[in-house]
Structures are given as structure tokens and as C-alpha cells.
Amino acid sequence: MAGRGRKSAKKREENNWDKKKFGKGDRREFRKGDKGEVRNLILPSNGKIKDNLFFAEVNSSKNNIQEKGNTLRLSWKGDKGEVSVFFIVTIILAIMGFIAIMFFVLNFFNGGVSGTDEVCKLSVLTRASAPSSVQGYVPLKCQTKKICLTQSWLGTCSQFAGEKDVQRVVLPSGKEKEKIEEISANAMYDCWNMMGQGKMDLFQSLKGEVGLKPTESACVICSRVAIGKDVKEEVILKVNINEYMRTHNPPNSDKTYLQTFTDKSVRAYPKVEANSQFSQLGKGKIEKLGTGKKIEVSGSAGNREMAMVFMQIKTPSVEDVLTNMVKYGGSVTAGVFMMPVIGNLAKAIVFSPVGGTLTAVAAVGMGVYGTTTAWEGQRIAAGYCGEFTSSLEKAKAGCSLVQGLNYNTADINQLCQQIEGSP
């Protein structure tokens, strides 16, 4: 019994270290043999502060408290003003979260995860939501996809000779036409989705170099689709992307490409009169009224490479643009449009301040909607005109479009004053 009494007395002595009894700054006289969890131990003899949390035993030689009757000022774990368990856990979680974010961000900025559609989409979102002053510094991590369509297992595309990361697609025998149409339509659809469906303001500042004045455009070449020499010309001549987009749905969608780009009420392209201005566009030279400036348009013959290009342009007169769209045969619904065969003339005619004043068309060769069936000649364009979603208080108006163009310098440079993204 006596032993039990001594034990409980000792326990009571240890319990005296409880915070309820001793608060921060309290003074307590320690005796030899005292134990407890001590923090911020201040020794009056030399004034040193030990910040680390440790188990102090007054008898220990570590803390120089060996003499009976030393007076210490203590602060205790859990006291007011001290670090709580919750706080520590929060800090640890925050640090872990920070490390995870940093890992992703560093990879993102250093190009460690570059090239995928998701990264491109993320960079588009990042840029669109960034303040305009820093927007030009947010890189668009969009790499041009290179798709080679061949007929044979060993077939290649000379267009991509010497280039890396080329995706080869072997066209199934007997279904070459459908596959070419499907891949081309999907490339266009993917491009549109990756670039935020044209509703995001992606080129607000561009380091101040461009500033995107009206009629100045910036582009991203989302993909290049090339057809190998082993694919017969007669197959290519049968390809009709316009019709494919009118009658087929994109993956996981219950609407056709045409409806997805415009509205579900749209089921067909508008009819264009055979003698209309638009019907004569397609190939040759056009001249803007009074300027004497001719716009060269390349033909489609022999060109087996198409680029899916996303273009954005700032224009204060969105209504005029949309009016021009309708005039030149576009389907326009609530600012969203789809135009067959407008091709690289879109900017020159529709987006130009002098668009609509086009008078002289020296058309040569084909290019009439409804009769054109060559894959390269179908430069269908889909887009959006209206206010952009951006970080700015006042949204800017403009137009975005995605379209297939012959992959050549003349055609693409006429549409794009600036090209961003990685080749």
C-alpha cells in the first residue's frame, strides 16, 4: 500500500507538468528527478534559449539543471501562441500540396510534359486567364501534330522526311476515303476544342509586338495531315470533307460536326449561286478594289499536305464580319459560323476592312462549292465571332476560326501574321 502511495505521489508530481497548471511564462521550481516535455527553456543563469522541443529531465546533464531549486520560465506544448497539432498538420499538407503543384508547374514550364492535347489545352486556359500584362509570357504549349496517312504498312510521307514525332496511320483497304475524311475532320475538331472553341482571348498582348490590331491575325498550326505517295490520286479526288462533316458525328457526340460547330438546327450548308462572287473563289488571283494588291491563292494539284490552322483576329466590327460570312455562303448562328471553301481568302475578304469591296476575281481552275471534291481544295472554315472570354474587365471582340489549308508558306502566311506554338 505504501509503495502504491509513493507511485501515485510520483504520478501526481509528473502530472504537475500539465499545461492546466503551468502556462507560458510561468515560473516553477524544479527538483532533481523532475521530468516533462519542455519548450522554450530559459535558463536564468546564462540566458540561453533553447527553441527545440525536447523531453527535459531536470537531472539531465544536458540542460545544466542539476541543482535543486533552479527556477525556470517555461512554455508548454499546446499553450496559447504555440503551434497546435492542427497547425502542424495543415502546414505539412500545404507543403505537400505545394511540392505536388511545383512538380507539375516545373514540368509544365520546362517542357517535360509538352506535346499532348491536355497540356496544350491547359496552356490555352492558363494564357486566357492570365492578366494581359503577362499573357505574352505564358507559352502556348501546343505542338503541331504530324499525321501521315499511308496505304501500306511500310509507307511513309516524304513531307515529313527528317521530322520527329510523326504519327503514321495506315488506311484500311477499301475504306481509304472515309478514313481520310474522318482523320481530317477530327483534326479540325480537336484543334477547335484545344483552342477553347475560339471563345478565349489568346493573343491579347503577344509581348507588345503584335497587339493584334484589326486585320492582324495570330495562329496556331494544330496539325499537319499528309498523304503518302502510295495513296492513289483517285482516292483523294473522292474525298469530301464537307459532306463528311455534315453527315457524321465527332467521337462521343450526338450532333454532327456541322451542328457541333454551328447549331443543332443547322443540317446543311447554304446554297451558293453558281454565278455568285463566292463561287468563283478558290484558286487564282483576286484583287482588292483600289489597292492594286493581288492575293495569290495556291491550287490544290499535287499538294498532299494540309494544315489545320487555328486563327484569331481582333475586329471591332463583328457584325460586319458575320454579314460578310453570310454573303459569302457561311452558316451563321449566334456568332458561330461554318463556311465551306472560303479557304485562305477568309482573312482577305471577310476579316479585311475592305472585305466586301472585292471586285475583280481572276479565277482559274476549280474552286466552286459543290463541284470541288479534291481533298486539298476543301478549305472549310469553322469559327466564332463575338466577345472573347478573358481576364480583362472589358472583353474584346473578335473572331476565331479553324480551317484546313494547304501547307505552304504563301497560303498560311496570308492568313497568319504570327504563328505560335511549336513546329
Binding site: K24, S114, P139, G162, T409, P423
Partner: protein
């Protein structure tokens, strides 16, 4: 006195968190700026790699067009194996380089920041940019009776092809060496035809408008 210490403790924690926050902001700002620079470097590297791959696919005597997506603030230049002024990175052969700068002092600009690719077995490397550089010269066969103007404006080449953020056509000839030309508008808004490549190449190199 006791309360003061509590306040101090709270403030110290606040200060630490604030310092970390400011540090992070600075870090992200620097990283953001660096990212755009890194992306340009990546693009430049992709361009020179693509050029190297395409040129290696050329046969001896072949002339062809290589379309590149340029990056502004960079230029393409090159050195022959026999050129004593070639940089160290071109020690073992003629080389083609993409460097950051205006293309003025090519050697020092390439030394500061540039990526070079060597072409072993090619003794000669000629880079010529005929676009945008013109001067007046005396006409070689000027006939004073028929023509009152004895001078003509001709394109002159520079040793660097300054890149822009658009597509650019380089016309390349591989014959006992490599000739890389940029003619830009000389060939009519960059138009170049496979059928007329020999004459186009001559037109470009001779600086005929």
C-alpha cells in the same frame, strides 16, 4: 510581458508565411519569364533538328524547298569547314546554326546562344539571305542610247537568315557542300514551284527581282 510574447509568436508566423508567399510570387514571375524564353529555345532547337533531318535526306546535287516555322529573335547562319572563324561547336565539319540575336555579328551572337549541327563530309556551307536587302549597282551591259538609267536595284545577300514568327521557305542545294538560301518575296510571296526549281534557285541566288 506574457501577452507581448504571444503577439510576437503570432507575428513571426505571419511574417514567415508572408515571406514564403512573396518568395513564391517572385519565383513564379521569374519562372513565367523563363518559360517564354525556354519555349523559344525549344522552338529553335526543333527548327535546327528538323533542318538537319531534312538536309540529310537530300541526295547529292538535289535542290529542294524546306518550309520551316520561324521564331522571331533568332537567325540561321552557318560556317564552312574551311572557315577559320568558325565557332568551336563546328570544329569537326561544316555546320548550320540557329542563334539568338539580330544576325548582325553572327559569330559573337552564336557564341552567346545558339545551336549548331555539323554536316560531316560537306566542305562548303553557304548561307544567303536575299530578302529585304537591296542596293543600286551599275548595270553590267548598260547601253546609254537605249537606257538612261545606268544603275539597277539588285538584291544582295547577307550571311544570316533572320527568322520571323511565320512560315518561311528555305531553298537548299546540296552539291559538294550546302547552299541554304532564303528569297522570301523575290519568288513572289514565297511561291516556289517544283517544276521550276532550278530556275527559281538561280533567280534567288542571282538576286533577280
Amino acid at each position: 510581458m506574457i501577452r507581448k510574447k504571444g503577439i510576437l509568436m503570432d507575428n513571426v508566423l505571419g511574417l514567415i508565411v508572408a515571406a514564403i508567399g512573396i518568395g513564391l510570387l517572385i519565383f513564379f514571375a521569374v519562372k513565367l519569364y523563363g518559360a517564354s524564353v525556354v519555349q523559344d529555345e525549344e522552338k529553335a532547337r526543333t527548327i535546327i533538328d528538323s533542318l538537319e533531318g531534312k538536309i540529310n535526306n537530300f541526295n547529292e546535287g538535289e535542290i529542294g524547298k524546306i518550309t520551316i516555322q520561324g521564331v522571331s529573335g533568332w537567325f540561321i547562319t552557318g560556317w564552312s569547314f574551311t572557315d577559320k572563324e568558325r565557332p568551336d561547336s563546328c570544329y569537326f565539319g561544316s555546320c548550320l546554326c540557329i542563334c539568338k540575336g539580330s544576325g548582325g555579328d553572327v559569330k559573337s551572337e552564336c557564341k552567346n546562344k545558339g545551336f549548331c549541327r555539323e554536316f560531316k563530309g560537306l566542305d562548303k556551307m553557304e548561307i544567303a539571305n536575299y530578302y529585304g536587302n537591296t542596293e543600286w549597282r551599275d548595270k553590267p551591259n548598260w547601253d546609254s542610247e537605249e537606257d538612261t538609267n545606268h544603275q539597277e536595284r539588285v538584291y544582295v545577300s547577307t550571311k544570316s537568315i533572320v527568322l520571323k514568327n511565320q512560315l518561311m521557305d528555305l531553298i537548299v542545294k546540296k552539291e559538294k557542300g550546302l547552299i541554304v538560301n532564303y528569297c522570301g518575296g523575290i519568288l513572289g510571296a514565297g511561291l516556289y514551284s517544283e517544276q521550276n526549281k532550278q530556275s527559281d534557285f538561280l533567280k534567288c541566288t542571282m538576286g533577280v527581282k
